[in-house]
């Protein structure tokens, strides 16, 4: 890629590929809802001010001043001053009612963009936590995907906080592990270690945010027998929001990548924290990742 014009052309061409959208179904759904969807009428006045002479303007202004002064006096002097006694209306005594508790959001991320050096908060799978960033270059997108972009491709890195439903026993054939991974952090760590064989380190006991956690380091093989986007690593249900999908799967970002995983049980939720670095990543990136992990505090 050599010029900005090349990039523009490539992006335009990619955006204009036919993606087979058909809006007929959703259009019918919308039209079916019109009867029950009232229009919001314009809030601005439809009338116009008549042409006024000076006397009218002065008169209207004076009247407005009188109204404002009167209302201000009423407001400032308290209720019922100089007026008739109000009819006492019985104030209903407060009846204790079960106030619905606000459901905390399951996913809350900082605003998309560069992450300033300092502490940041997010909520993943209903688990609120904070972490600090000690170096520049880290950013977060709208999905809570944290990444480090550098001009040196080898120093790029990605962070994901999420939960996993299961892993793939055969990533190229897309065969999920059967029976699926058990519910604990140790279950998942052992399954990753077993599935990745020699490409994984034995799970070790570590601490994340003051809680016991499992840590596994995986290496994405370079001779995988399929392309990397078809090399499925693990999946979850994606929040169950899709109509024609059973979940989301994660594929290998680059062959030869190192994926460091920390798995921690937090009040019943199994949080999966993964950091992915390129094969030629320097030790600084690894240190930055470890610094972020060490800074995690569960709120």
């Amino acid at each position: 890629m050599s010029t900005d014009r090349d990039v523009d052309r490539t992006v335009r061409s990619w955006l204009r590929e036919d993606r087979h959208e058909d809006a007929d179904r959703l259009l019918n759904t919308v039209l079916d809802q019109l009867d029950t969807t009232p229009q919001r009428r314009a809030s601005w006045p439809a009338w116009r001010f008549p042409i006024m002479n000076s006397a009218m303007r002065i008169g209207l202004a004076a009247a407005a001043v009188v109204v404002v002064v009167f209302l201000g006096y009423q407001f400032l002097s308290g209720p019922n001053v100089g007026g008739p006694s109000p009819v006492e209306t019985p104030t209903p005594s407060p009846v204790p009612t079960a106030t619905p508790e606000a459901t905390p959001a399951a996913y809350v991320y900082p605003d998309a963009g560069p992450l300033a050096i300092g502490r940041h908060q997010l909520t993943e799978e209903g688990v609120p936590l904070s972490f600090s960033v000690a170096t520049s270059g880290w950013s977060i997108d709208d999905t809570g995907y944290i990444y480090k972009d550098t001009e040196v491709a080898a120093d790029q890195a990605e962070f994901l906080f999420w939960s996993l439903a299961n892993i793939y026993s055969d990533p190229c054939a897309h065969t999920p592990l059967s029976p699926p991974v058990g519910p604990s952090a140790a279950d998942l760590a052992d399954a990753l270690w077993t599935a990745f064989g020699t490409e994984a380190t034995e799970p070790s006991d570590v601490t994340v945010g003051g809680r016991a956690a499992k840590h596994v380091v995986l290496t994405v093989p370079e001779d995988i027998g399929c392309d990397r986007t078809s090399f499925y690593l693990w999946y979850n249900d994606c929040g169950g929001v899709s109509s024609d999908a059973v979940g989301c799967y994660r594929y290998a970002t680059e062959l030869g990548d190192t994926i460091r995983a920390w798995i921690v049980d937090v009040d019943g939720a199994r949080l999966f924290i993964e950091a992915e670095t390129r094969k030629a990543a320097g030790p600084e990136v690894e240190q930055e990742i470890q610094q972020i992990i060490d800074s995690i505090v569960f709120e």
Partner: protein, 182 residues
Amino acid sequence: MDTDLVIRAQGGDQEAFADLAATIADRFLATSHRILSDIDLAEDATQQALLSIWQDLPQLRDPARFEAWSYRLLVRACYAEGRRTRRWAPNIRLLPVDEPMAADGFSSVVDRDQLERGFRRLSLKHRSVVVLHHYLDLPLDEVADVLGIPVGTVASRLHYAMRAMRAALDADAGTTPREAAQ
């Protein structure tokens, strides 16, 4: 855009709105699909935008500005949908119901993977600018009008976004942006 249809729909004429919606629905879905990179979310955003248009149409003062106004509602709907889920993170994809174990089907994705990954890394605000300008061919001042932001901000977002896309493509070619610039 037929302003007569707009005016009639403003007055509550459902048939006029149906005609109006039919002329923009495909374009809206295509646009939201590109901004959100997810057809499910795009359908939800398009549906919500069309309903918002119906609801708020009486408040549109100048029917001739319908197009820019309606795209603004679409982009807002995309923002709202995009924040509902993370399933379009750069290296995560939907797992289809019917072929969870298919071994292929994504081979063509490989060629586009860097583009998609670069695009998915952009915030919704940056994506919107790219799509409105490079897909809908709106000049920068019209993009600014749609988004309700200054032209300078549009230019800045576009510059940032295209630089990021260039970095993604350069990474694919095995070069760094610095190398490519030389």
